[in-house]
Amino acid sequence: MTSPGEAEEFEPPYLYPDYKSTVLRAPSRPLVRLPEEWFHNARGPAFGRIPVRSEDADLTQQHQGEPLGERIAVSGRVLDSDGAPVRNTLVEVWQANAAGRYVDPVDDHPAPLDPNFTGAGRCLTNSDGWYRFVTVKPGAYPWRNHPNAWRPAHIHFSVFGPDLGSRLVTQMYFPGDPLMASDPILQSIADPRGIDLLVAAFDWETTTPNWALGYRWDIVLRGRNATPRGI
């Protein structure tokens, strides 16, 4: 429940048995609440140690050749829940290739690796909070959660923001993907308005003629007036 004046939120629960890995990993005790400002007081780290080069934002230019797949540009703004742009913050992305296979050695899906695609990128937001990545559209892939389970196409995002309370790891999905309706990770968000917040919009404005399709996705981090969430 939200109190008057408090922004609505659509966070997933920790325990969501349809997503089987939550059953033994979700904490069972209530989270301890601290006064809100205590978390905001934990200012975020300096990112100087995480190397960010301008070429890290173009996942199609990290190898000798071009990766296979549909070339896309994903861009948007990082804002906080008070409406202010989040400047100069680290955004990290990772994803499967166009065939639905991750470079990660943990992934044993029998789809081909692409020698020209790693699938990891980094950038810092600019002074208006904008980020932009060029990549290829990731493929769907099967997983073992339930019979014939397939993850919808998605790109993982990690965003820091200014303090401990703003840290966010999430996933961006693509509009119209029929697998979204049966994906327990996405459907763990009970309110369809929350799900909508994770689906990018196809965007003509950022679609480059004869080059790449554009997707637009804004990210909202918890600002100083956000209320800590329990279980």
Binding site: E11, P12, Y19, V32, E37, P45, D80, D82
Partner: protein, 165 residues
């Protein structure tokens, strides 16, 4: 500045972040004589190691990150932080903010690591004071030879105290 906006919901880090998020030297920002090594294991509700977890330590200018290994083990080499007052001026004991990510965690968890040689400061710490006395020990690292040991139990009798964030 625009109006209030709904925060983007969290989703799990999944199992496949290992090729993307770690960076060279990420678990060991501290070098030199004062550096402190912390070791621990991330464990699930059956006590099994969580082999696809990611822990971040965040305090002041220090940021460290470590992926768990095949035993669910992680390690950090950091400087022991100096005590920092909370924003309302209450002094707090020296601690590290620890965030936990894993497949199966739809939202990350936040906890704190306190130091075993700070008994008086820990006893006066306003955050520990808000924790059930029977569970406070889950937030205090143990001295184990030359290292400090800090295990994180996601569930079970020894479940680590996590904070709403």
């Amino acid at each position: 500045m625009g109006g209030r906006r709904v925060p983007t919901p969290s989703q799990t880090v999944g199992p496949f972040f290992g090729f993307a998020l770690p960076f060279p030297g990420d678990s060991s920002p501290a070098v030199g004589g004062e550096a402190l090594r912390i070791e621990g294991q991330l464990l699930d509700g059956e006590g099994a190691p969580v082999v696809d977890g990611l822990l971040e330590v965040w305090q002041g200018d220090q940021f460290a990150r470590c992926r768990t290994d095949a035993e669910g083990a992680y390690h950090f080499t950091v400087h022991k932080p100096s005590p920092t007052p909370e924003s309302d001026g209450i002094p707090t004991a020296s601690h590290l903010n620890v965030s936990v990510f894993a497949r199966g965690l739809l939202r990350h968890l936040v906890t704190r690591l306190y130091f075993p040689d700070e008994q008086a400061a820990n006893a006066a710490d306003p955050v520990l004071a808000r924790v059930d006395p029977g569970r406070r020990a889950t937030l205090v690292a143990r001295r184990d030879g030359a290292v400090l040991r800090f295990d994180v139990h996601l569930q079970g009798a020894d479940e680590t105290v996590f904070f709403a964030h």
